[in-house]
Subunit: 512 residues, 2 copies
């Protein structure tokens, strides 16, 4: 492959250009990370214009005709069977997607994202959706325009999905959610019938500094390299990478919510491990970058749920946790702790929900996004639509906007089409973990012995290493030998919760 | 001015281009700020390449022919008597200076700065100049090359001075330092004869968290807007601005060094006040930016020394400080404190030195820089040259590299020509403060009443407001009615220290 000297030279030119583009993307990432962790409040408008300028520069680099010509030549010189050929084709797609955006639109969208984000922060401070509504309305208009610029066959939402998961359509998602909803509902009913009151320790107060310290220990336990990354505190946990040696996670710490710290660290830690596991030598090329948000979420949800809400993991970690908070957890048994972190029940906040009702939270957002983008829903009605959806699907009454329509940051960033990847990622996570259990003899025993490295090595080899070379359907087939199959997640759920809530027998038949 | 519609349009095009350039400069500043405050250690090589890419992009924007053509047209349409005309001419100079650098050199210099900075950090960790020497040697080579690219008439160091103080030459600096050295020496001798032992409180331990809190209070007292800026901790205090609503200062906090916290906050606070006082409406244009490092240092040194080492200021602030550390300062009188922060004597570290011996520290660096750039000195001999200079000029023996040649960050950043601006700035500060005392009746009384706003308003009007419109000689003449005159600093010093060390009479005659 690329045996001809000339082709190899062209490929090096392509690599150099992509590395510069990656540098600029990293600077944009830092401006964003800083905006949510460090930026002085009055600096918001300046930061907005700086982000717009850099975003427009990035768009300029990605749409330079010299890059496209280089890629067209390299497309001729390679085949999709080799890594170089895959990289070239994936970049060509990215270039063509960018070419559909006029620079003016890029700048307008970036300006709107900044205004919309700061408007969301302001609305949250007042707990009033009305403050944010018109800014969200502008954002939705732009997103509709973006869908038209990108083009689509059936649903405008398909166009927006491309940025988050190009291998997925609205039609497929409708089918998937319908199937999962149908299977989850009876399982949930059965569990809720048997669910007791929340244990006392969940309501206790855990000092913030000790929580933060434990969060860092937890990340080190997973194998996250804190010399090549950071953990900070922000209102909304997120992960940002400026290259695999500079991966930054945030968590939130509240005295009354130890699980919030634990599961945000495990979730963001999963994202962070993926980013740190990407191939440094291919920095800037698709093979050195994450493939899609579905695969990204498969990694975060795998560590958060399959590992972090599993009993094996806590066999080793719980005594360490209890020794950090002996005054509270000294009297709690592992089984009580395990049951506490796996309580199932309808709640108001997605990020605090259990791993089953979680998908109803995602479904609500997915349906709202589709409705907003198609024009069926108006932002003026959004609070009522949201609250009604929570009544209908989860049976809970939303008491205010903070615990309702203002809870997620995503729409303020213009991320329409992101939410479904949380569910997709969760289903993939179950399938990956099932495969790992099959392929690694004694995996649960190694987790129970405090060894996360065995699992991480497997993920590095199977999923992190290839980076962005294969879209998720292909990667899923390579890793698991099967197509994406949410039944795998359902089996995992029935097994785990059947065991936890002893009396639930025959659920498999009932729900299957 | 710019009455023709067409000219006004051109000026707006120029403003838009400059604002984009300012955005990119701000992103580079953030990459740098983050590098010294947040960057995970393994991220250093990545950060280096990101800085190089953005620096090369900036160079590209500054040397675009469309910008130069715009400026040439606007030069015809304006005169230097109007703000627009001054802005255009100053930018044209900046463009032409940038045109002298080939892109390759820009990239090489940026890469070398990153390597040299991290090498300096590594050498400090081992307290061994030898680790850094070859990297500094490469840097000096590049700086010599840079001087040739920029061109000069007499001394290659003149070329490098342009980036820090374009209105100054090596010849002028030689004269200035010779004059000041001649006048300072007898004053210093007289003081040292009368200097007693250091007071006990200077050797006490002050808890770090309370120091940090006091530092923030101090900044607020000066009028620094903490909603439009931050204070962080770094090993080497510095100020970075990403626009006047996002100005970031750092300080260093050591338990055994309360003055270190106080005077780094006052020094960086002075820089920060200047940046926050620049005209927001002219963001990106010379009139909205700092003019030069001499003027910048005039602001930092004015707040650090004329205000912050003055008795009036502490009349109001000392009781507040003492109430923060009652167990130590409760028993210390204002006079004892005032004497303690104004102790004069030869020391090893520039940033910890008194305001008189300070200029010997600067002179040593200035002479070394000139020697390195001219090729007279070799980096291999630098440790010895440094240590010998300290013996000769300050009479102290340098015990190790940390307290010697490794103490300053500047050369690792490639900042040759920066140091002289500390002395220039100090002399300007004395002259500005003298003028303020003359023009503001009761200025000392207002400081003694805890009011810094009166002085700040005056500085805003006279110095911050005009931004970069006038080079320092012109600004100095406008503000003080006189040319730069270090005698003003000497008079200030004789008055202050004559009073402090009661017996020093007739010094003015002796030294004059």
């Amino acid at each position: 492959m690329l045996v001809k000297k000339n082709d190899a030279d062209l490929y090096e030119q392509y690599r150099t250009k992509m590395q510069k583009i990656a540098d600029l993307k990293a600077a944009i990432s830092l401006l964003n990370w800083d905006q949510e962790t460090c930026l002085p409040p009055s600096g918001a408008p300046l930061r907005g214009r700086q982000l717009t300028t850099l975003t427009a520069l990035l768009h300029g680099l990605l749409t330079e005709s010299s890059l496209e010509n280089l890629l067209l030549n390299l497309e001729q010189a390679t085949t999709p069977a080799e890594k170089e050929g895959r990289n070239v084709r994936i970049t060509l797609e990215e270039v063509r997607r960018n070419q559909k955006y006029p620079e003016k639109f890029v700048r307008q969208l970036s300006d709107t994202v900044s205004a919309c984000f700061h408007g969301w922060v302001a609305a949250r401070r007042k707990n009033d959706f009305a403050i944010w509504e018109h800014l969200l309305g502008e954002m939705v208009c732009l997103k509709q325009q973006e869908a038209r610029l990108l083009g689509y066959e059936k649903h405008p939402y398909d166009a927006l999905l491309q940025w988050h998961e190009k291998a997925m359509t609205t039609g497929q998602l409708d089918g998937l959610f319908s199937q999962v909803r149908h299977q989850l509902s009876p399982l949930l009913s059965a569990i809720l019938d048997r669910s007791g009151p929340a244990p006392d320790w969940l309501r206790c107060s855990f000092p913030k500094d000790r929580q933060g310290k434990f969060g860092r220990e937890l990340l080190a336990t997973l194998g996250f390299d804190l010399d090549a990354g950071r953990l900070d505190v922000s209102e909304h946990p997120f992960t940002v990478s400026m290259g695999n040696q500079d991966v930054r996670l945030t968590t939130r710490i509240e005295e009354g919510d130890l699980p919030g710290l634990i599961f945000s660290c495990l979730h963001e830690g999963g994202h962070g491990l993926y980013e740190q596991g990407l191939d440094e030598a291919d920095y800037g090329l698709p093979s050195g970058e994450a493939i899609s948000l579905s695969i990204h979420e498969s990694q975060s949800r795998l560590w958060e749920n399959m590992v972090g809400r599993g009993k094996s993991f806590w066999l080793h970690q719980f005594p360490k946790l209890a020794s950090r908070f002996p005054e509270i957890l000294g009297k709690v048994s592992l089984q009580e702790f395990y049951q506490g972190i796996n309580r199932v029940g309808p709640t108001l906040i997605r990020t605090e929900s259990d791993e089953l009702t979680y998908h109803f939270h995602v479904l609500i957002r997915y349906q709202i996004e589709k409705g907003l983008i198609s024009g069926e829903f108006r932002t003026g009605d959004l609070r009522e639509i949201w609250n009604q959806s929570y009544r209908d699907l989860l049976g809970v009454k939303v008491p205010d906007d903070l615990r309702g329509v203002l809870q997620d940051v995503h729409w303020s960033h213009g991320s329409f089409g992101y939410f479904p990847t949380y569910s997709l990622g969760s289903f993939l996570a179950a399938q990956f973990f099932e495969t790992a259990r099959r392929e690694i003899p004694g995996l649960e025993a190694s987790l129970a012995a405090g060894d996360c490295k065995t699992l991480l090595d497997w993920l590095r080899r199977k999923i992190h290493g290839p980076g962005g070379q294969y879209p998720y359907p292909e990667l899923c087939l390579q890793v698991t030998g099967k197509h994406l199959d949410p039944d795998c997640f359902m089996e995992y759920a029935r097994r785990k919760y059947g065991e936890l809530y002893g009396g639930i027998s025959g659920l498999q038949e009932k729900a299957g």
